[in-house]
Amino acid sequence: MTNNSFVKALFAGSIEQDLIFPYPKMDKEEEENLKLILDTVRQFAKDNIDSVAIDRDETIPKEVLQGLAEIGLFGMSIPEEYGGSGFSTTAYNRVFEEIGSIDGSLAVTLGGHQSIGLKALLLHGTEEQKKKYLPKLASGEWIAAFALTEPGAGSDAAGIQSLAVKDVQKGHYVLNGSKIWITNGGIADFFTVFAKTPVGESGEKKISALAVTRDMEGFSSGKEERKLGIHGSSTTELIFDNIKVPVENLIGPEGKGFKVAMEVLNSGRLGLAAGCAGGIKTLIRMSVDHAKNRKQFNTPIAEFEMIQGKITKMVVDVFVLESMVYLTTGLIDRGDIDYSIESSICKVYASEAVWNAVNEAMQIAGGIGYSKEYPYERALRDARINLIFEGTNEVLRAFIALAGMQEHGEYLKKVGKALQHPLNEMGVLTDYALHRIKKRVATERLADVHEALKNEVGKFEEYAKELHLATEKVLSKYRKQIIHREFILNRLADMTIDLYAMIAVISRVDSLLKEKGEKKTHKQLTICKTFCEEAWRRIRRNARQVDNNIDPWRKEISTDACEANGYQFDWVD
């Protein structure tokens, strides 16, 4: 079974090694340019960006945004013919990582503009739409925003209520409704708005994407939301009151807006993950600096093993995260790839790793970490949103497991049907039989991986098989009901995340070993081994608990609490 998603193939029991080996490498010239761009971004940040002021004043100064626009950071992903720089996905995300290492508000603002705000236009815009809007967006004259979430539709994005009714004679849609939590809502001029449109003769309401601009009559944005963190980013409500949106502003096919939104978010999640990697690197720098200089019991606290454990976790996490993000962006740059699950994995891993890092950095800093005079508390407030936006980690875990199983489920369904008409469906059955035999006789193997990674490769192969077996098991046990077995989905998702992380570090370190030799790759190899040792044990535990678990008890306790409207066992009656 072939597939152009590594992870989807993994669920189906096959290791598509060609997709991820060798680890993607940027060409030399692009890498040199990237280095210069990163230098520029760092220098600009050093001279101009005051995160304390951005947080306190709840805004990013205009001059800062203008300066970044002049450098060209608003049009990195836009092709040169529309005034941008036409970066590869890898280069774009690496620059975005740098922005994430500088300031959370800034990363969210630029991500809202570029990773998601104008992405639908890039992916599905017509030539006219691109010519009309992209140059302004590339130069930073206009900022873009992505408008999907509504009061009644967060994780359940398909449930949006905004309505755009086409008036064929007048050549426009009439758009009504509202959006909430829109990043850049107060500062953007261009909005990718998702609304339901009656489609076809039946008039069935399906989601479509529309290009809406601030200057359209009937458009307004609400007051700035007061948030826990990312204070400098703009977040508002949007109100659409009988806006006449020209029909030529439809982005992508009518009624296919949900697919457009998901595609945009797939790429957005990678940017978010890259930004988190930057944030973790900053936190490591802060933590190491503090741990080396802070002495207790006449010893720098960096010498205490409990502190070392925290620093190690941060370093391993960011190495793994980098490996996954730039493996995925490398795959995208190679072309024609389904990376929906992979980007979700990166987002989940990244947001949890940055949250852990900020927590540990604060712990290493001790009392001062809790003080408003130091940057830890701001970092903590800024980092928290990553677990929530661009798909909560819960909905993404469900997605990772379900989307991974889906194709294999379809395939099994075909096999089921074929069994009813065995004579007509010999092909499917032979295929299935071969597949079963292959699975029973031999585990899928990785070939030609460096000898130093033998152990890790073995574990990956072993547990890749476990994921496939678990998939078949739960599909045959729960069938369609699997969608409601979230304790199980959660485990499958965690197994998948660990497996993708393992293969990403293995591929990266394998390439390093082959290029530079074992001696020069010793440090990276140690990180890889450290991660894999922990990962396969987690996978094993999760695999065992697919069958053997206490899920019914956990369900019961939660249901009880909900029925009792809270905690019901206070020892004082």
């Binding site: 010239e29 040199e32 340019n33 280095k35 210069l36 761009i37 230098d39 520029t40 220098q43 600009f44 300066g67 002049e70 450098i71 060209g72 950071l73 049009g75 990195m76 720089s85």
Partner: protein, 262 residues
């Protein structure tokens, strides 16, 4: 106006320096490099002059392969082309020799103005610029803070001491060494960085410059670097004991005659 900017790549300012065992220089392998600060201001000044009066900005840099990074940065900021003299075979710390090599490269070009930084952040001798002007046979002005173009020449503001400045008029061609901080250095733009690859970087060796190995030999001018070392700590604490009156007298004497602070 055709301007040549001499630009050196030096270790990043807050680098942790490790001196080589023989004390001849620092270990270079672990260092990061940047454009020498005052050279960076010289480049910015050249770009501004070009924008105001049109012309060409040519970068000239001497150093090993790594200086191409600095050259690319300069090209990304708007310089039109560059000359790279690879000095791996004749690295010398003598400003006289360096100026001779730079002069040989500049003489191949027609130019109106040569700009360099006031001094480099590594050796800091502030000699190369003025010796270069002598080699080229053009007038020079040092510690320049402002440049105004006039008919047939330029008028420059020089920094003297104690807040004093001096305006000097020079004909063209001439050479100026630029003081740090006189303008605001621009950031390379992404477009500039991507366009830089299309710009010419001409590599020149000694033979192309018409020089022989004896021209760049170390020690020929009598300048020899014998040893580089970290300043030795000479802090010494002296404790006076005894009758407070006598101790106070001793202390006053020391402060007055030895430390010379009162």
């Amino acid at each position: 106006m055709k301007i040549i900017v001499c630009m050196k790549q030096v270790p990043v300012k807050d680098s942790l320096l490790k001196i080589t065992d023989d004390g001849s220089w620092v270990h270079e392998t672990d260092l990061n490099y940047e454009i020498n600060e005052s050279d960076h201001y010289a480049l910015e000044e050249a770009l501004r002059l070009k924008e105001a009066h049109s012309g060409e900005v040519v970068l000239l840099s001497m150093g090993p392969e790594r200086v191409r990074e600095a050259i690319k940065q300069g090209l990304a900021k708007g310089a039109d082309r560059a000359i790279h003299i690879d000095n791996s075979s004749f690295t010398t710390q003598d400003p006289f020799v360096n100026a001779r090599v730079l002069a040989a490269a500049i003489k191949r070009e027609e130019f109106d103005l040569v700009l360099s930084g006031l001094q480099t952040d590594d050796y800091g001798s502030a000699q190369t610029g003025v010796i270069l002007a002598e080699n080229l046979g053009v007038p020079s002005a040092t510690i320049v803070m402002e440049i105004q173009k006039q008919n047939g020449g330029i008028k420059v503001k020089r920094e003297l001491e104690s807040g004093w400045f001096q305006w000097v008029e020079l004909p063209l061609p001439s050479l100026l060494t630029i003081q740090s901080g006189i303008n605001q250095i621009r950031y390379a733009t992404i477009k500039g960085i991507m366009m830089a690859k299309k710009k010419e970087i001409k590599a020149l060796g000694l033979s192309e410059l018409g020089l022989s190995e004896s021209d760049v030999e170390e020690g020929q001018t009598g300048l020899v670097f014998s040893k580089i070392y970290v300043p030795e700590k000479t802090k010494k604490t002296e404790i006076f004991e005894g009758d407070p009156r006598e101790v106070a007298q001793k202390l006053a004497d020391k402060l007055k005659n030895e430390a010379k602070v009162i």
